[in-house]
């Protein structure tokens, strides 16, 4: 079986703010294959969010090329590019003056869908992210719990049926139970809908549990990448080994508790 073509590719991409400033991203090259679930793990300030935003042109690269489906994003119209790519924001960023239904239907509305098609899509998505249609449709974001808000954010990103999903710490601010449930729900959707996903997290355990492949980023450079198994077993970089140590210790401790 030949490897799937790259949905997203970074080719020697750097980003610096100002001529002489230190680079936020330093000569990054990275491919994300179609239908792949890539987790990008790194400490805060490592450049993970910058990496994600380069994909839908919320940020422009200083040097290098970013391609989506083989096309240089610099040549694409930014707004229409973003309408084709789902984005889940770290702070959720729901529009406080719009209802849940209006928030979810925003990208379809920008694409000019008719009312009936938008309403049907909203119902479909509410079911998909397991929210109650009658109860939540007409609520405003301020009336939602954290988990409900995250689910609406996810539904909004999925609304226009994108093939690519970008997620910036999507489950970061949630309690562990909700976080686990939502993560698993999303992993299932990723498979069902045949999505390509890039998810940013600082939590290695989450990355290990959800992703097909993990890229570890530090100080603007990719220091390791591979499947969870490859990273677990063969990491050379000291920082990566350190990152892997914590989940490993947790797992051993749990196993020890279980056998007693």
């Amino acid at each position: 079986m030949s490897p799937a073509p790259a949905a997203i590719s970074f080719d020697d991409v750097s980003k610096r703010y100002g001529e002489n400033a230190a680079p936020v991203l330093d000569r990054v090259s990275l491919d994300v294959r179609e239908r792949e679930f890539l987790a990008v793990v790194g400490p805060s300030g490592s450049g993970k969010t910058t990496l994600l935003r380069l994909i839908n042109r919320l940020i422009e690269p200083s040097t290098g090329l970013v391609r989506v489906n083989g096309e240089d994003v610099q040549g694409a119209d930014a707004a229409s590019l973003r309408r084709r790519i789902g984005y889940v924001f770290q702070g959720v960023g729901l529009f406080p003056h719009m209802t849940v239904a209006e928030n979810i239907a925003i990208t379809p509305r920008l694409l000019g869908w008719d009312q009936a098609r938008m309403a049907a899509r909203v119902d479909e998505l509410l079911a998909l992210v397991r929210l109650d249609r009658e109860k939540h449709r007409l609520r405003f974001p301020a009336q939602l719990s954290g988990g409900e808000g995250q689910r609406v954010g996810l539904a909004r990103a999925l609304a226009a049926k994108p093939a690519i999903m970008l997620m910036d710490e999507p489950f970061g601010a949630l309690d562990p139970l909700t976080r686990g449930a939502l993560g698993e729900d999303y992993r299932a959707l990723h498979g069902e809908l045949g999505l390509t996903t890039v998810m940013i997290t600082h939590d290695m355990l989450e990355a290990l549990l959800l992703a097909d492949r993990i890229a570890v980023i530090r100080d603007g450079r990719i220091v390791a990448q591979g499947t969870p198994q490859q990273l677990m077993n063969g990491a050379q970089d000291g920082y990566v080994r350190e990152l892997m140590a914590a989940p490993r210790r947790q797992a051993e401790r749990l196993r020890a508790l279980d056998t007693k």
């Binding site: 924001f89 960023g93 729901l94």
Partner: protein
Amino acid sequence: MNAAPQIAEALARLPAYLGGHVAVSVTALLLGLAVSLPLAFASMRRPALRSVLLGAASVVQTIPSLALLALFYPLLLGIAALTERSFGAGFSALGFLPSVLALTLYSMLPVLRNTIAGLNGIDPAVSEAALGVGMTRRQSLVMVELPLALPIIMAGIRTAAIWVIGAATLSTPIGQTSLGNYIFTGLQTQNWVFVLFGCAAAAMFALLVDQLLALMENGLARRKRAWVAGGGLGIALLTLAALAPGLSQPRAAYVIGTKPFTEQYVLAALIGQRLGDGGLSTTTREGLGSAVIFDALRAGEIDVYVDYTGTIWTNQMRRNDTKPRAEMLAGMKEWLNREHGIVLAGGLGFENAYALAMRSGRAERLGIRTLADLARHAATLSIAGDYEFFGRPEWQLIRQAYGLAFREQRTMQPEFMYAAVAGGEADVIAGYTSDGRIAQHRLVVLDDPKHVIPPYDAVLLVSPKRAGDQALLAALAPLADAISITAMREANLRASGGGASVTEAARWLSNEIQKKSVAR
């Protein structure tokens, strides 16, 4: 005192005053919004522009609104002269245009500040999400940022509306009819019913507009289109209703100007009645300053007004000598015509000179009969004068000629001056010889042995534009030498706090003139 006739008169003037007020404030507010909102949007991502805008708007706000309004008049006069010369077409630098421009500037700070604050206060995560879901910058502004900033922007618009409607009362002195006419006329003639009526009418109009804007704001926030439409329709109807009488009435053919004191109001009413009897329609521009009114006449923005020879002699001709009365009048008539094309249509028959006056008892005790006597005591005395007097060349002449140096010098409304000297708050006042209150308050006018103060014969001036207008000149002719000083004093006293209105005082004066002409 029975206020009923004053209220009736105030009501009769309401359509004209309110119409002028609404026209100037609504135009200024709309213009202000049309300028401020795009500027605020443009400065969203330009911090340098933002600080320049807010700085400039704040500086404008520190200029007292009356001064801001007054400053636009000479500015526009200069521009109008320039366009007249370059393009052969000028425009009126008096009234509507300077008022609208000054009030527009005045409306900008609250709108700019609130719009900028409202847009800056939006959670960056929300603005970013707007771009992330695929909105263009414009879509993000219209669909997300504006709706979220709306309550703060509307609060700014409401503040601006109240400021502009309030400050529009101050457009009266630069020739724009407004509800301020009640206040200025009322202050000059001690007609407190007028003052209160003007304040109440302006406040009610401001409150009504504010409430309609609030309705629109609530409608926008709660997405009730009917509320938004209702508020907008209300403001539109209010504007139309206020403007309708002015629009349906034929434009008055002749504009009569007045300076800001009682005698001028009475004479303007008298001229208005006289022209009206001759079938000529008139309107008045009330409360203009001495320099403004002369320029306005020269530019043809007013057609006729009453000035005083001494004022023209010193302020316009810049003379500091004194000539015999007849010689002065002839020279002035020739000068006005030669320099400006203005027609001096004749004297009214009385003089209204500046005169330094004291309570007669006090003058007697101190042995003061002339300005020379006064100079010996001036260091222990205080003097009060109107807003113009201490800045006028005559005052410099008097001071220099007699070596007058007072302990204290105060400026006040002419109406309060007499009460001040009678009550002992001021020792000397710069009063007017045609003022009935000199006799009423038992004041003595001090002699001017050196003849420094020029004669101030009241004269009718007609604009260059109307120089050949026989109908106008014929209607004014019967007023020549028709008003005695005693009749004028009596009319001034009647119009000023005596209970009778200006119109009634003018009618009384008109009767006096008729009696006199019959007696002749």
